[in-house]
Every structure is written in C-alpha cells, then in structure tokens.
C-alpha cells in the first residue's frame, strides 16, 4: 500500500490519535512517511496503515441485508473511527437506498442521492432500524424481502473451493478472525464442516 496524499484524514480516524500528534503530522509530506526512519514518523505511518487496512477490509467483509425496499443494513463494529467513511462508501455504491451500519451501541446512517450524501449518527443499530421502520411506514412482516442472499452466497462460496489447493494458513492470514468479527461475518467460520486435520495443521 502506498501512503495516500490525504493520509492526515486516515490518521485522524485512528483510535489513539490525539490532537497533538495530528498537529505534528501536519508538517509531514507523503514522501517523509515513505522513507523517513524517525521513530515518531514510523509510528504515524503504522497508524495510517492500520486505519487504511481496517477500512479496506470492512468495505470487503461487511454484508448488507434489505429492510423493505429502500434500506440496506449491516452489523459493523470497527476499532478505528471509520463508521461514517464506510457507511458513505456503501451509500454511494447503492444510490437512492438508505444504508445503516452499526452495532449495539452506535450506528451510522447515510443516503446518497444525485451525488450528494446525507448522514445521521444514531445510538444502537436496532434502535435506528426501528425508527426507520416507523418513518418509512413499513410493518415488521412487510419489510423483509424474503430473498435468501446469504443462502445463495454460501452455496456459491462452497463451490469455489479446490481441495487440491487447500491452504488454511493463507486463508487465516487473509481473513483474520478479528476483522471477521468486526464485520459480523459468520459464513467462513464453518466449524461444523471442519475436520480433525484442520485443527492439527496449524
């Protein structure tokens, strides 16, 4: 990954970033972060990479479900302050649909319409979804569209596995358990299909 021009944005989203560190990083250029071996610069670079990495994996791993016809929602509990950033990404990808991401304690709501994004930041995911249900006048039963996308995906995902190329080490490196949990992923934790060999080869 290359350090982006707007690295200060990513730094500001880090859970441990202070105003003081942000002010000091303001004097740095992208090239400084790329080559400098000063301890503090190396730390800033590491923090930028940590936020970029989590943002990238959340864009990949968060799964969305339909609530009615104009709301998509998903579980999401990031370590860094990237809730709004990720929610906006999904809103732009699904223009005209409200995207709600969140967990038990907070949620982010975004809607992209004609290139402009509207946002809200609520408390828990369930609370935001309840409020949306009443605002959109859709009942509990009428909201779900009945399409089992998760089921479709699971069948397709299983079909792509080549047993002759089995490489659990690479799989675990690419899909760290920590990020799977942050994105609420359960599909790859296929404990019911695991063999004894899966536990011995680590």
């Amino acid at each position: 990954m290359k350090i982006p021009e707007n690295f200060l944005y990513y730094l500001s989203r880090h859970e441990d970033c202070s105003e003081r560190l942000l002010a000091r990083a303001g004097h740095l250029r992208t090239e400084d972060l790329e080559v400098s071996q000063h301890l503090e610069v190396a730390r800033i670079k590491k923090m930028v990479y940590a936020v970029m990495g989590e943002a990238h994996r959340m864009k990949a791993f968060v799964r969305l479900s339909y609530l009615g016809t104009c709301v998509l929602y998903g579980f999401f509990k990031p370590r860094h302050r990237i809730g709004e950033h990720i929610c906006d990404h999904f809103a732009r990808r699904n223009a005209g649909i409200i995207v709600v991401l969140g967990n038990g304690s907070e949620s982010w709501i975004s809607l992209c319409r004609e290139g402009r994004v509207w946002r809200d930041h609520g408390r828990g995911l369930n609370e935001s979804l309840e409020r949306l249900k009443s605002a959109l006048h859709c009942s509990e039963d009428g909201c779900e569209d009945g399409c089992d996308v998760e089921g479709l995906w699971q069948v397709y995902y299983d079909s792509q596995y080549c047993p002759e190329r089995k490489n659990l080490q690479a799989f675990r490196r690419q899909m760290p358990r920590r990020d799977q949990e942050a994105a609420g992923l359960r599909l790859v934790q296929k404990k019911k299909n695991a063999s004894l060999e899966d536990f011995l080869c680590d």
Binding site: L152, Y157, S159
Partner: protein
C-alpha cells in the same frame, strides 16, 4: 448531519428521480444444485482484477477467501455446463464419463442473482464463462444478453468479465467488448500441436488466436474515441502441463500474447486431473510450477526484465526450477556487488529482495542522505537476507562462498 426522518423522506422521494433508486430485485428462487454445479465449473478460472471505471475503483478488493487461500471477489459461474467440445482435462467435455447433470441459467435469472449478491456486498462483479452448448453463438448471445440486462435494466456499475467462447462470431464479440470491463479467451495450450493433444475439436488458429486478434483490432479502432471501451482489456489463461509442454514454450507463447495480441495479462492454472475425464490418470502438476511462471510473468511485466536475460532462468530442458527465477538471473548476470547509493533504478530492480516499491524508496532516501547500513535498507522494505550477497554498502559486502573459493 440531518435527522433520520428527513433521510427517510428523501429516500422515499428517490422513486421520482430520473434513474430511480437501485431497489431490491424481486424474490429469487434458485436451484442450489444448479448454482453449485455451474459455480464449480469455474473453480480453476482466474481473474485478479475488479477494475471498473464506472465507479471509484477499489484496488484488489476481496470479499472473502476460500480455504485454499484464494480470493473471492466475483460471482464466477458458467452460463451452461453443456458442451460439445472434447477437452481431455475438462469435466464438462462431451466425453467425460462422470459428467454432471446439464444446467443452464436464463439471462434474467443470472442478472438477478448477480445484482442481489452485489447489493449485499458479497461480490464486486460478474465473471461469466460457459460451455459451448449446441451452438457457441447461441450461448454467447445469452451471455451478452445477461450483461446487457445488468447494465441497462439494473443500472449495474460493477465489474463484468465475459469469456469469449472459441469460435464465437465477430458480432457477439463486439457486443461483449462494448458491455464488459474485461473479456478473455482461454489459450489453454502453448501451441497448435499442444492444443491437438488436449482438445481435438478446437482450432487453435481460427477459434482462439483469430478471436483474440478481433478484440485487439476492436480496441485499437476505438482507442481514439471519446469513450473508452473494455477498460480492463483482454486477458488469457493457460493450463500448465496438461499437454506436456515446457515452461519455456509457455513463456514464449505468453510473450507473443503480450507483444502481438496486447493482452493485459496471462493467468496460469496448474493441471490437476479430474475424475471421469480422459486425463484422469495423468499426473497432477505441482502448484509451484504455476507460481514460478507467475514470477517470470511478473519479472517481465512489472520489473521490465528483457526476454534475453530471462531465458537463463530455464534449464536445458526448458523447465524452471522450484526456486526464485530472479535469483537465478541475478547469479548469472550480477558478478559484482552493487552500491545502493549509486545504482540506477533498473539496476536496483535486478537485485533479489528489492522490489519496485523498495527501489523507489531507496532512490528517494539517498537524495536526502546516503545509505550507511543494512538496517536502513531493511526499514525500506528490502529483504536483506536475499539482497545482501549482491550489495556493497560503504565499501563493505557480505562474505560469500564464491569469495572463499576464489
């Protein structure tokens, strides 16, 4: 920030917008066996790109990884597994004794599955291949129709990779090129004679190479037009070792593809025998063979090595050893250690353990201060263990076995 109620009100108004919102498609009822069988048909097909300029591109996004460590970013499927070709390695071939039940999608069904998976963020796009069916033009037409439905009916802005079937008509290829982000025709073998060994029903020159030239010509004709078509270009894929070809023969074919056909990149898939096929009892090729060919490919495309120097990586029989080819080339050509403070960028790239990113960092770093220790190189991403025998820093170099022998 606006209130949630205002957002709900704006979303309801979206149905009056000119394009309308990207609403959920109707309820899907898909046969799981069909989904699995047609999905399994593309297990060995590879596409590493999800580049689509229709929205902000996401570099190499992978929505999941299978337990073989490979990325799943696309909905890879066959349109139909019915095929009249006699490929000796393929489970869909007409002469396969353990052939699965024949399935086929309809364009509408396939488009709806794709859009549902895309909206729920399981995939970045569609990779559509197919068996030839009774008539390859008929199947190709359906594949194009699927892409058209996605683009026009569902306003799908994600990535579409369409496989062009061997022998498909120029008209259908033109339509595929206009709708897809990438198209590809699998070469499968390194030459016409090798193709005859693995599939007697495909004509290497007219069914495959000629179709690749059609795509090349279509791209060159439209390169000056305002609208760029096929942003991710055309690619190809080879089965490694099915016809007994050497690595050098494969590499020479790939060089031809890069220079003459203009493919964006080549993919390799090590042959593994499938039950019921004609090659069932043939020995599987080691996965490292595929990996070494990818390394050679990388050295040519990314490191810009010359084919003349790269041929030293092959042994007398034309095969690569199970070792880094860059190291073999460096041993052949780098007889004197290199000073990273004075070496040019291409020279740095030829040192094992130094890649394009670390070479860029070295060049930027030494403009500020000279490199004085190996630790500084390590901090720039250089793999010191591999690079040290080829480097001389401040007049010092590591002792090598060759020095003692001298």
């Amino acid at each position: 920030m606006v209130t949630l109620e205002k957002i709900a009100h704006l979303a309801e108004e979206c149905r009056f917008d000119s394009l309308g919102p990207a609403r959920s498609p109707a309820v899907l009822d898909v046969d799981a066996e069909k989904l699995r069988t047609l999905g399994e048909g593309t297990r060995h097909d590879v596409c590493a790109s999800t580049f689509s300029p229709r929205e902000t591109p996401l570099p190499g996004i992978c929505h999941a990884f299978t337990q073989d460590g490979r990325c799943v970013s696309l909905f890879k499927t066959l349109y139909t597994n019915h095929c009249t070709h006699q490929c000796s390695y393929c489970t869909n071939a007409v002469n396969c004794s353990r052939k699965a039940k024949a399935f086929s999608y309809t364009p509408k069904e396939l488009a709806r599955i794709t859009i549902s998976l895309y909206r729920s963020n399981y995939i970045e796009g569609l990779f559509l291949s197919s068996g030839a069916g009774r008539d390859e033009d008929n199947v190709m037409e359906k594949m194009v129709e699927t892409a058209r439905l996605l683009r026009q009916k569902f306003a799908f802005s994600g990535y579409i990779h369409l496989k062009v079937l061997p022998g498909a008509s120029q008209t259908h290829i033109q339509e595929a090129v206009e709708l897809a982000d990438r198209v590809s025709i699998n070469l499968e073998a390194a030459s016409a004679s090798h193709m005859n060994e693995i599939c007697a029903t495909k004509n290497y020159e007219s069914d495959i190479l000629q179709r690749q030239r059609y795509i090349r010509d279509m791209l060159s004709e439209t390169s000056h037009a305002a609208q760029t078509i096929l942003p991710a270009g055309q690619t190809t894929q080879l089965v490694v070792g099915a016809a007994g070809e050497s690595d050098e023969e494969i590499f020479k074919r790939v060089l031809y593809e890069y220079k003459e056909i203009g493919v964006r990149r080549a993919y390799y898939s090590a042959f593994s025998p499938q039950r019921g096929t004609f090659f069932e009892n043939k020995k599987a090729q080691p996965l490292w063979r595929e990996h070494r060919l990818y390394q050679m490919d990388w050295l040519y495309r990314i490191y810009h090595f010359q084919p003349g120097e790269m041929r030293h990586a092959f042994n007398e029989s034309g095969f690569l050893a199970n070792a880094d080819p860059k190291m073999a080339i460096a041993r052949e050509f780098m007889d004197k250690p290199l000073d990273p403070n004075t070496a040019t960028f291409p020279q740095l790239l030829r040192v094992p353990g130094i890649g394009p990113r670390s070479a860029e960092r070295i060049v930027a770093y030494r403009k500020r201060q000279p490199i004085a220790a190996k630790a500084e190189l390590a901090a720039m991403g250089v793999r010191i263990k591999r690079a040290a025998p080829f480097l001389k820093i401040n007049g010092w170099r590591d002792t090598t076995l060759e020095m003692w022998q001298a």
